[in-house]
C-alpha cells in the first residue's frame, strides 16, 4: 500500500477489477475452485473498503475545497475536445466510495453463503467484482465520459447478474429489459453531454461547473441539459417513466438485488444530480421536474407495493419509492438530505434484501428437502417465520422501522430532512406543497406495506407446509453476520447527520458543503421556524405510526391461504397487483407496434418488396424484358427486317427534312 491513498486513487477501482480478472479466469478454467473464488472475491472488496477508509481519512485531514483530480491517460483527445481517463475525489465521492465498498463487502460476504451451492459461483463473483469496479469508476470519474463508462458498465453487470441463471427465459428476458430500458435513459445522458460540450467546450466536471455561469441561469440550454441528464437518471434510478425494469430485475440472485438494485447502482441517478448540483440549481424548471417526478414515483410505487405477494417485488417497489424520496430531496435543492437518505437507504434496504435472501434461502431449502415445487418467494407460503429465523426476524424489524421513519432509526432522520426541506421550499414555490403531500401519503403507505410484509412473512401461522416446516432454519453465520452489521447501521446511521433541531451537528451536511456551496447560494433562502419543524417531525412520525398500526389492525395473517390456493384479486387490488397495467400499456403502445412496424412493414414490405423486389430485381427484370424484346426482333425473316428498315429510313428522312 502506498503512503498516500489519495495519490494512488486508481487502487480503489483496480482492486475489484483485479478480482474480476482472477475470478473471471477461474470461472472459465476452474469453476470448482470455490475457496479461491471466495477469498479473492471478498478479499478485494475488504481491501477496497480499507483503502476507501484510508482515502477518506486522509482527505478529511486535508479537507480541500476543490476536488482532487488525478489524470491517468489521454483517452479521447480530438481537437479542442480533451477527455482524459481521470479520477477525482471529493466529499461526495467519499460518501459514495464508503457506501459502495462497505455495503458491497458485506453483501459479498453474504453471497459466500447464499451462492455457495451454485455451479456458477466463480462467474457470480467475477460479475459482482466487475460491478464494484464500474460503480467505483462511476463515482470517481472526473468527467462525464468516464462517469458514463461506469454508468453503462454497472448497467452491463446488472444485465449479466439479473440474467445470471440464464437458462430460464424469464431471467434472460429481465436482464435484457433492464439493459434496453436503461439505454433509453443513457441516450439522455449522451445528448446532455453533447449539449454541455457544445456550450462549454469541455466535459470535465471541474471545467464545466466553473463555466456553468456562462449559461444563462434558467435559460433553455441549461434546462435542456439537466432534463436530458435527468432522463438518464429515470432509467438508471428507476423513476417514472422508465422504472419498469427494476421489479423484473428481481429475477437475479437476491444479494445482487441488495447490492445493485437497492444499495448502489440505482442510486447513481441521485449521485448524478448531486454531482451536477450547479447545473440543476441554475435550472429551476428541471429541479421541479426532478422533485415532482421523485414525489410522484414515491407514491406511485408505494401503491403497487401494497399488493405484491413476492417478497422481493415488495422490496423492489419500495426501492423505487425510496429513490423517489431521494430525487425529491435533490430536486428540492437539499442535496445533503438526498445523499443522506441514499446512505441510510443503502443500510436498511440492503438489510431488507439480505433478510429476504435469508428467508428465501430457508424456504428454498425446505422445499428442496421435500422436493416440492412451490414459490419460495411468495409471502402467502411463509408466515410465522419468526420462530425459525429469529435473527432475521429481529433485524428485518429494525430495517422496517427505519424505512417507515420511526425515531431513532436512521431512516427517520433522512426521510424527515427531505420532507422538511420540501415543505420549506413550498414557501417560495407552492408546487412543493403538492410534492410534500405526495411524499407524506407515500410515507403512510411505506409504513403500511412494510408492516404487511413483516406480518405476512414472520407472524401468524406458518403456511409453508407440514413436512417443510422442520427444515426451516436460520442461515449460517456468513449470511447472518452481515445482517447484524447492517442492522446496527440501520439503527444508528442517523448519527451521520443528526439535525440541529435535536442538538446534532448535521455532520454530513457540513461535510458535503464544499460540493454544494455554489448551488446552495443560488437556492432561494428557505428557513422554517423551529415550531413548524417540530410540527412536521411529529406529523411525519404520526403518519408512520398510523401506517404500522393500520396494517397491524387491518391485515389478518390468519386468513391467508398458501399461494396455490389463493383466490384471484378483484377490484383495485387486482389493478395494483397488476402494477397499474403499465407494463401491458408499454407493450401495446410501444413494444408491439415497433416490432410490427419493423417486421411487417419495414422488412417485409419496404425492404423485400419495394426496394429489393420492385426496384432492384424489377430493374433486372426490366433489362431482361428489354433483351427479350430485342431478341424477338431477330426473327431471321428477311421480310421483317425490310419492313423495319424502310420504316426506320422514312422516320429518319422525315426528321431530317422537317
Amino acid at each position: 500500500m502506498p503512503e498516500s491513498v489519495l495519490n494512488a486513487l486508481w487502487v480503489l477501482p483496480a482492486l475489484p477489477l483485479l478480482g474480476f480478472v482472477l475470478n473471471g479466469a477461474l470461472a472459465l478454467v476452474r469453476p470448482g475452485a470455490k475457496t479461491a473464488v471466495s477469498v479473492i472475491g471478498v478479499g478485494v472488496l475488504a481491501l477496497a473498503f480499507a483503502a476507501g477508509i484510508a482515502a477518506v481519512v486522509e482527505f478529511a485531514g486535508r479537507h480541500p475545497a476543490a476536488p482532487l483530480v488525478v489524470r491517468y491517460w489521454e483517452w479521447l483527445p480530438v481537437g479542442s475536445l480533451r477527455i482524459d481517463f481521470a479520477l477525482q475525489f471529493d466529499q461526495l465521492s467519499a460518501v459514495m466510495v464508503l457506501v459502495v465498498t462497505g455495503v458491497g463487502a458485506l453483501i459479498h460476504l453474504f453471497s459466500v453463503g447464499y451462492m455457495g451451492a451454485d455451479p456458477g459461483y466463480a462467474r457470480y463473483f467475477a460479475f459482482l467484482n466487475l460491478f464494484v469496479f464500474f460503480m467505483l469508476t462511476l463515482v470517481l470519474g472526473a468527467n462525464f465520459p468516464v462517469m458514463f463508462v461506469g454508468w453503462e458498465g454497472v448497467g452491463l453487470c446488472s444485465y449479466l447478474l439479473i440474467g445470471f441463471w440464464f437458462n430460464e427465459k424469464i431471467n434472460a428476458d429481465a436482464g435484457k429489459k433492464a439493459f434496453i430500458v436503461n439505454r433509453i435513459g443513457d441516450v439522455g445522458f449522451l445528448i446532455a453531454m453533447f449539449l454541455i460540450f457544445q456550450h462549454t467546450g469541455s466535459l470535465d466536471f471541474a471545467e464545466v461547473f466553473r463555466q456553468a455561469p456562462v449559461l444563462a441561469a434558467g435559460g433553455g440550454v441549461v434546462t435542456a441539459i439537466t432534463l436530458f441528464l435527468f432522463l438518464g437518471c429515470t432509467g438508471k434510478s428507476a423513476q417514472i417513466p422508465l422504472y419498469t425494469w427494476l421489479p423484473d430485475a428481481m429475477q437475479g440472485p437476491t444479494p445482487v438485488s441488495a447490492l445493485i438494485h437497492a444499495a448502489t447502482m440505482v442510486t447513481a441517478g441521485v449521485y448524478l444530480v448531486a454531482r451536477c448540483n450547479v447545473l440543476f440549481a441554475m435550472a429551476p424548471v428541471s429541479s421541479s421536474v426532478v422533485a415532482g417526478v421523485g414525489a410522484l414515483t414515491a407514491l406511485f410505487a408505494a401503491t403497487i407495493a401494497l399488493k405484491q405477494w413476492d417478497i422481493k417485488r415488495v422490496l423492489a417497489y419500495s426501492t423505487i419509492s425510496q429513490l423517489g424520496y431521494m430525487f425529491l430531496g435533490v430536486g428540492t435543492g437539499a442535496y445533503a438530505a438526498g445523499i443522506f437518505h441514499l446512505v441510510t437507504h443503502a443500510f436498511f434496504k440492503a438489510l431488507l434484501f439480505l433478510g429476504a435472501g435469508s428467508v428465501i434461502h430457508a424456504m428454498h431449502q425446505a422445499y428442496h428437502a421435500t422436493h416440492r415445487h412451490e414459490d419460495a418467494q411468495d409471502m402467502r407460503n411463509m408466515g410465522g417465520l419468526r420462530r425459525y429465523l429469529p435473527w432475521t426476524w429481529a433485524l428485518m424489524w429494525v430495517a422496517t422501522l427505519a424505512i417507515a421513519g420511526i425515531p431513532p432509526f436512521s431512516g427517520f432522520f433522512s426521510k424527515d430532512e427531505i420532507l422538511v426541506a420540501a415543505f420549506a421550499r413550498a414557501g417560495a414555490d407552492p408546487a412543493w406543497y403538492a410534492f410534500w403531500g405526495l411524499a407524506i401519503v407515500a410515507a403512510l403507505l411505506t409504513a403500511f406495506y412494510m408492516t404487511r410484509l413483516m406480518l405476512y412473512a414472520f407472524h401468524g401461522p406458518n403456511r409453508t407446509g407440514e413436512r417443510e416446516r422442520e427444515h426451516l432454519h436460520e442461515a449460517p453465520w456468513v449470511m447472518t453476520a452481515p445482517l447484524v452489521v447492517l442492522g446496527a447501521l440501520s439503527l444508528g446511521g442517523g448519527v451521520l447527520n443528526l439535525p440541529e433541531l435535536v442538538g446534532g451537528h448535521a455532520f454530513l451536511h457540513h461535510w458535503l458543503a464544499p460540493v454544494t456551496q455554489v448551488a446552495d447560494r443560488m437556492r432561494p433562502a428557505i428557513a422554517v421556524s423551529h415550531a413548524t419543524e417540530w410540527a412536521l417531525v411529529v406529523g411525519a412520525v404520526v403518519v408512520a405510526v398510523a401506517g404500522i398500526v393500520g396494517a397491524l389492525r387491518l391485515l389478518k395473517p390468519e386468513a391467508l391461504v398458501p399461494a396455490r390456493l389463493a383466490p384471484r384479486e378483484t377490484g383495485l387490488g387486482r389493478v395494483l397487483w397488476h402494477k397499474w397495467y403499465v407494463d401491458e400499456i408499454y407493450d401495446r403502445l410501444i413494444v408491439r407496434p415497433v416490432m410490427w412496424l419493423s417486421r411487417e412493414v419495414l422488412w417485409k414490405v419496404i425492404d423485400m418488396q419495394v426496394v429489393d423486389g420492385l426496384l432492384v430485381n424489377g430493374s433486372a427484370a426490366a433489362c431482361r424484358a428489354l433483351g427479350w424484346v430485342g431478341s424477338r426482333l431477330q426473327t431471321g425473316q428477311v421480310g421483317v427486317y425490310v419492313v423495319v428498315f424502310v420504316v426506320g429510313v422514312l422516320l429518319v428522312l422525315r426528321a431530317a427534312l422537317r
Binding site: G79, P145, F166, N167, A172, K176, F194
Partner: protein, 502 residues
C-alpha cells in the same frame, strides 16, 4: 527504401504469393496463404511507427505507367488511409486462419483469390491516380465475386451476381465521371492527367456539371457503403458468402465506399456536397440507415442477415460523421470504420463458427449454449457489447465522437441518430439471448464443442483490439487528426464556408 517501396510491396506480394499458392500442392494452400498474409501483415506493421502524423501524404511512389494518357502509378498513404491499410493486412491473416476448416473444396483457388483480393483492397486505399484507383476497384471486385459464387451457400449465384452487377454499375458510372473530370481539367490546364493531386489542385469551379459528376461518384460509393435504398445486395452477399468473404466484405469492402467519399467525392465537389439539399439528403439517408437498418436487423431470423443489416446502421454513423465536418465527427467516422471492421468482422467469424458446429445460421437453432460453450459465449458477448457501443470498448469511442461532433452541426439529426444506440441494443441483445441464453432445449446443442485453439487465435486478437481501442484510442486519433483537419479545412475552404474546425 521502406518508405518508397512498402506500399508497392504490399500490393505486389499477395499477387506473387497467390501464384505460389496456385502452383503449390493443394494441402499446403491454406498454410502458404496464412504465411503469405502474415508476411504481408509484418510488412505493414512498421507503417504504424514510421508514419508521421503531420506529414501529409507519405510513403509515396510515383512513376509513369501509360504516359500517353497521363496515367501514372502513384501510391501514398495519409491519416485517412493508414488505418484502412493496416486493418486490411490485419484482417486477412485472420480470415485465412478462420477458413481452415470452413473451406474444404478447391482450396488453392480460394486462398489464391483471397490474396488477389488483398492486393486489390490495398490498392484501392493507396492509389493516388484515379485510373489506378479504378483498376484496383475492379481488381478487388472480381475475386470477391468468385469467393461468393463458388464457395458460398445455397443461393450463392444470385447473391454473387447481384453483388457484382450492383458494384459494377456504380463503378462504370464512376469511370465515366473520372473521364469527364480528366477532360474538363485538361481543358483548363492543357494536361491530360489522372493524378489525384493534379486534379484536385486544378479543379476550380466546375459549374453545373459538378452536380452530375458528384452524383456518379455518389452512386458508386453509396452502393458500396451501402446507403439506403442501395443496400439490398448486402444481406444477400453476406448470407451466402463463406465466413472469410463476409468478414472481408464487412470489414474492408464497405469501407471503400466511405473512404471514397472522404478521399474523392467530397473533396472534389465540396460545393455540391455541402449544398443544403445534398446535405439534407445524405444526412437523411444516413439516419434512415441507422434507424431502419437497426429495426430491420431486429426482426431477422438469420444471424448473418442480422449482422448485415446492423452494418447498414453502423455505416450510417460514418456517413453522418463525414458530412457533419467537425473534427470530432470526422475522426469518429474514421474510428467507426476501423471498429466496424474489427467488431463486425469478429461477429461474422463467430457466426461462421456457430455455423460450422450446427450447419445453421438461424438464431433459433441455438439457445442456452453458454453452458456448453462458455468461451464462445464469453467472446460473443464481448463482441456484441462492442458492437452496441458499450463504453470501454472500441464501439463507444467511434460512436461518441461521431455523435458529439455531429451534434455541433446537426443537433436534431444527431438526436435521432443517438436513438440508434437504443436500437442497437434492441437488435443485438435479444439475438445474443436467443443464441447463448434461454433454455438449452435442443438436443443437438448439448454436445457442441467449445472454441478450438485455432479459433481462439482468430478471435483473441480482435478482442484485444476491442479493448485497446476502447481504452486507449489516442495513438489512432493522433495519427488521423492532421488528415481529418486537412480534409475539413479544404472542404470548407473550397465550399466557401469559412468556419474553421473546432
Amino acid at each position: 527504401m521502406y518508405q518508397t517501396w512498402v506500399l508497392t510491396a504490399l500490393i505486389a506480394w499477395p499477387l506473387v504469393a497467390a501464384l505460389g499458392v496456385l502452383l503449390g500442392p493443394a494441402r499446403w494452400a491454406k498454410h502458404l496463404a496464412l504465411a503469405a498474409s502474415l508476411v504481408e501483415f509484418a510488412l505493414s506493421v512498421p507503417l504504424w511507427w514510421t508514419f508521421v502524423p503531420a506529414g501529409g501524404m507519405q510513403f509515396q511512389l510515383d512513376v509513369p505507367w501509360i504516359p500517353a494518357w497521363g496515367i501514372r502509378y502513384t501510391v501514398g498513404v495519409d491519416g485517412l488511409s493508414l488505418f484502412l491499410v493496416l486493418l486490411t493486412t490485419f484482417l486477412v491473416p485472420l480470415s485465412v486462419l478462420g477458413s481452415y476448416t470452413y473451406i474444404t473444396t478447391r482450396e488453392r483457388g480460394f486462398y489464391a483469390l483471397m490474396l488477389v483480393l488483398t492486393s486489390g483492397m490495398i490498392g484501392v486505399f493507396v492509389s493516388l491516380d484515379l485510373f489506378l484507383f479504378y483498376v484496383m476497384w475492379e481488381v478487388m471486385l472480381i475475386p470477391m465475386y468468385f469467393i461468393i459464387g463458388v464457395w458460398g451457400g445455397e443461393n450463392r449465384l444470385y447473391a454473387a451476381i447481384k453483388f457484382f452487377i450492383y458494384t459494377f454499375f456504380g463503378s462504370l458510372l464512376m469511370l465515366l465521371a473520372i473521364l469527364v473530370l480528366v477532360y474538363l481539367v485538361r481543358q483548363r490546364t492543357g494536361v491530360y492527367s489522372f493524378s489525384y493531386l493534379h486534379l484536385i489542385g486544378h479543379m476550380g469551379a466546375l459549374g453545373p456539371v459538378a452536380f452530375w459528376l458528384f452524383a456518379a461518384f455518389f452512386l458508386a460509393f453509396a452502393i458500396k457503403v451501402p446507403m439506403f435504398p442501395l443496400h439490398t445486395w448486402l444481406p444477400d452477399a453476406h448470407v451466402e458468402a463463406p465466413t472469410a468473404g463476409s468478414v472481408i466484405l464487412a470489414g474492408i469492402l464497405l469501407k471503400m465506399g466511405t473512404y471514397g467519399f472522404l478521399r474523392f467525392a467530397v473533396p472534389f465537389f465540396p460545393t455540391v456536397a455541402l449544398h443544403p439539399w445534398v446535405q439534407a439528403g445524405i444526412v437523411g439517408l444516413s439516419l434512415i440507415g441507422i434507424v431502419y437498418g437497426g429495426l430491420v436487423a431486429m426482426v431477422q431470423p438469420d444471424f448473418k442477415k442480422l449482422i448485415a443489416y446492423s452494418s447498414v446502421a453502423h455505416l450510417g454513423f460514418v456517413m453522418l460523421g463525414i458530412w457533419a465536418l467537425t473534427l470530432q465527427s470526422v475522426q469518429g467516422a474514421l474510428m467507426v470504420m476501423i471498429n466496424h471492421g474489427i467488431s463486425t468482422g469478429a461477429l461474422f467469424f463467430l457466426a461462421g463458427m456457430l455455423y460450422e458446429r450446427r450447419h445453421s445460421r438461424l438464431i433459433d437453432a441455438f439457445g442456452g449454449i453458454a453452458r456448453v460453450v462458455p468461451m464462445l459465449a464469453t467472446i460473443l458477448t464481448i463482441v456484441s457489447l462492442s458492437s452496441i457501443g458499450l463504453p470501454s470498448t472500441n464501439g463507444f469511442v467511434g460512436e461518441l465522437l461521431v455523435l458529439l461532433g455531429a451534434f455541433q452541426t446537426y443537433p436534431v439529426a444527431t438526436t435521432v441518430a443517438a436513438g440508434g444506440v437504443i436500437v442497437a441494443a434492441m437488435y443485438l441483445l435479444p439475438a445474443l439471448q436467443r443464441v447463448i441464453f434461454n433454455p438449452l432445449d435442443k438436443p443437438e446443442n448439448e454436445k457442441l464443442l467449445d472454441l478450438t485453439p485455432r479459433e481462439l487465435a482468430v478471435l483473441l486478437p480482435l478482442v484485444a483490439c476491442i479493448l485497446w481501442i476502447g481504452l486507449y484510442p489516442t495513438p489512432f486519433l493522433r495519427r488521423m487528426e492532421p488528415a481529418a483537419q486537412h480534409f475539413i479545412e479544404s472542404v470548407r475552404a473550397s465550399a466557401g464556408t469559412g468556419t474553421a474546425a473546432r
